[in-house]
Amino acid sequence: MRRPYAIQELRGLYAIWYRELLVFMREPSRLVGSIIQPLLWLVIFGTGLGSIIEPGAVSGANYQQFLFPGILVMTILFGSLYYGLYIILDKRIDFLKEVLVAPLHKSTMFFGKALGGSTDGLLQIGMLLILGQLFFGIHLTVASTVLTLFVVTLLLLGVTSLGLMIGSLMESPEGFGLISSFVIFPLFFLSGALFPLSNLPLWLKNIVVLNPVSYAVDALRTILLGITNYGLPFDLLVLLSFTVCTVSAGTWAFSRLKL
């Protein structure tokens, strides 16, 4: 009953991905809850800060529009990285063992998990995009929607893999807080998600340039609002490299995971 190796791995990939999706869809409250925070940022922070910023001061858009791509990136960063970190809890409980003892390659298991987490994120982003179109002055076309989803998927895969990597290497969930202080917040604040880069002091600008997440923000802002710093091709190149790196590093970390 031996079947081709690749087909078996693809089935495994499907099973692991499908499990993540089933779990996510099982509690619709989670899906709704997961977009409340970004909406609060857009409505309250966006309106509040927007009220003291002259219209057009942020590259011709109003502040809420300007903020929108940044909030998409924030949703991805926080959601996906924590998704990856949950692997620590899975390690303590035995959910993970059931997968680890399956006749599948470790990279299949890793990629299935990363895909699962990315799909969860994609559903959230999809809802935010619809709300953006309806209430936040975002104008989607077929082309810009496709491009947006492509960028979002790249970033989701990259960040989920980063989370899974850190989670695979960490021993206990107590380090969660540390990770958000030292990884998520710096990546977020130093990405230009909340403010334009044009008037920043040089030292801050230089740090932002080194942050791969900045290019995701820039790419989305280019696609959705036509505001760009680095140009879309360069954004995509950096983002693609980032994702390839974290997926590889994550696969490596996961394959040496000890229970």
Partner: protein, 323 residues
Amino acid sequence: MALIEIKHLTKKFGDFTAVNDVSLEIREGEIFGLLGPNGAGKTTTLSILGTLLPPTSGTAIIDGHDVAMHPTRVRRSIGFVFQDPSSDDLLTGRENLYLHAVMYGVPWKEIQSRIDESLRLVDLTDRQHVRMRKYSGGMRRRLELARGFLHKPKIMFLDEPTLGLDPQGRENLWHYIKKLSKENHITIILTTHYMEEADVLCDRVGIIDQGKIITLDTPANLKQSMGGDVVTIETKNAQISALEQKPYLQHLTYTNDLLRLTVDDVSAHLQEILSLAGTATHIEFHAPTLHDVYMRLTGKRLRDAAGDAEGGWMTRMIHSGTR
């Protein structure tokens, strides 16, 4: 030929030797038990056989495949039921089984009928669409048993299968394990620290202590090796030398005012034993159990050595609160 051949298997974690030069053969179709206290190396041994841990040295060949060289092939031949819950609380029993079937390469056309068959085997057909969160500990174990069987492995590993179950749930699960073994001809290797479980369920039992198998035989032979009934008397002034001369006495220890004897046919000699035991404050006697075998060989009580065995279920409670 033996279905599983283990030769000089050793596993070290730093300076600590968890499994120490274990060699054994397991035959097709038998239920084999590894009996010993927590920390004796049972789970580590099982994890190596299940390819979850690499051995430090030695070999284990399962159904013709070496666990260290061809883990993926080994995994196709085995089903594993873990000590701690390993199914998804948020999913239904049937969904958990479906995901397992897909991962283990059960042919698409057979998946649904195999799931039905497995559910029938453990009598969970009527609970299949209930989320696992609402399952009792015993039902969860039964479902995980069915899941381990879903891809029709030749061999199943059960790590402390009845840990955390009440006596009724335990006996209930024994019934299903036996059924699985007899009706489907699956070779089963289980670990346990419950001596009655090893006794009732297993065809052969290996007693393991500090990483070593100290004795291995059928439960009946192991008990017979004690040489008679076990008598325990609490007394301060037993006449040891007189007792030791009695021909029916097989074995004697006397520590902390506790006199332990192994005697041929205790009922025939009880009067005489009591007369030589001094002022006895308490007496107990029974036919030998595996517990007595363990105690004779290690000088320890299985229960004392076992410690807190329910830890795994605590982690599950922590988990359901966090996700």
